[in-house]
Amino acid sequence: MDIHFEHRQSAHCENGVISNLLNHRGVHISEPMAFGIGSGLFFVYLPFIKVNFAPGFSYRPMPGNIFKKLAKRLGIGVKHQRFSSPEKAKAVLDEKLAQGIPVGLQVGVYHLTYFPDEYRFHFNAHNLVVYGKEAGEYLISDPVMDYTTRLTEDELQRVRFAKGALPPKGHLYYLERLPTSFDLEKAIKKGIRQTCNDMLAPVPIIGVQAMKWVAKNIRKWPASIGIKKTNHYLGQLVRMQEEIGTGGGGFRFIYAAFLQEAGTLLNNPALIQRSEEMTSIGDAWRDFALDISRIYKNRKSGSDVYEKLSDQLLSLAEREKQFFTRLKKDV
């Protein structure tokens, strides 16, 4: 069972797995391309769900959505399976590996032995590829790691059946059929259009509107929940934006890379222009994170600090609103 699988590191696990699995079958789609076509750029604020003792912020859609949309838009057949029995889940994985098919898995992060301790949280939507089995150990290509790793049977079973929010339930997937030809231009346009619609959605918890809501709340938090909790909430926002997986600036830089690649491919100079604008928006997100971190560093308090952060986020929301309105007209 030795599958020749090329491990390439990526910023985000889901795009990385897609890109690596497709690459294995000879379809070369870069990580930013997979991210853009799958409409990966997003913003959602879930004040009523508490994650790690803070409200839920996310800069990406539900796990699995990027892959699902990409597959649909390119006409790729992907087989997904979930299991109630761990034994059966293992049997199917072994069978697929024996057939020489690299398999993508959804796993929980907490029990992943090769992760640094600081990153081991109960988060269940990580993705990796298993590409072989040697002496009872699985060969793992985890796209956020520099190198390939190994997990024993027990370790892999444990992460595949992690519990909590979004339990993986042994979720595995592999490519079934590839289209003979696909229309990249159409897929790119569809991906961009959906991202624009998502970000401009007239719903308070999604996109630009959600950013504005968060900005308003930042102003209120110090008085309503106290400085300590406010700082923790802001810390959560920074971690969601900059932590392993986003490629920096809450995916904005990956998206800018996608726009550049798409602009070159489609010969559309407007998209390249948009890519530059996106880069500067990404820089502004980084400044926002930097200013939040200053609160921890200098232990500076006083409500004007939070007023400023709120204004910063509001102006980011305004910039993105204009950006996506223009981008929508370009495709």
Partner: protein, 128 residues
């Protein structure tokens, strides 16, 4: 590209970031982390440490059972622990009470101990 010697450096791990090169083309650059992120992460870890310490005090004072301590140590909350041990969270909540905890059967204790990766003796023998 920021290169901070944080937690990633310990395991010799890099993460990949997207950045623009001198010609304005996007490329990927390995990064060791960024001080901003390290600070945010440390803040969250401090919070966990605080919670563990507070729970430990409460367990020693006899207000909570050792299950509460190991739950915090494993960064879990009641619903999560309940789904790992396969016991309804209403019962798990009751098991956090010292008097209830003392009445637990060996079989139930083993379920908890297995989830925490410790022995039943470690779980029952006061604290760690």
């Amino acid at each position: 590209m920021p290169q901070d010697e944080g937690s990633l450096a310990k395991k010799n791990v890099h993460e990949l970031c997207y950045a623009v090169d001198e010609n304005g083309r996007y490329t990927t650059v390995p990064s060791r982390g960024w001080e901003v992120k390290t600070l945010a992460l440390n803040e969250s870890l401090e919070l966990i440490e605080e919670r563990i310490a507070a729970t430990k005090t409460a367990v020693i004072a006899g207000q909570l059972s050792p299950i509460a301590y190991f739950m915090e140590l494993n960064r879990m909350d009641i619903p999560l622990l309940a789904s790992y041990v396969g016991i309804h969270r209403w019962f798990v909540k009751r098991h956090l009470h010292p008097t209830r905890f003392r009445k637990l059967k060996e079989k139930t204790l083993r379920k908890y101990a297995d989830v925490f990766g410790i022995t039943v003796e470690q779980l029952t023998s006061g604290l760690c």
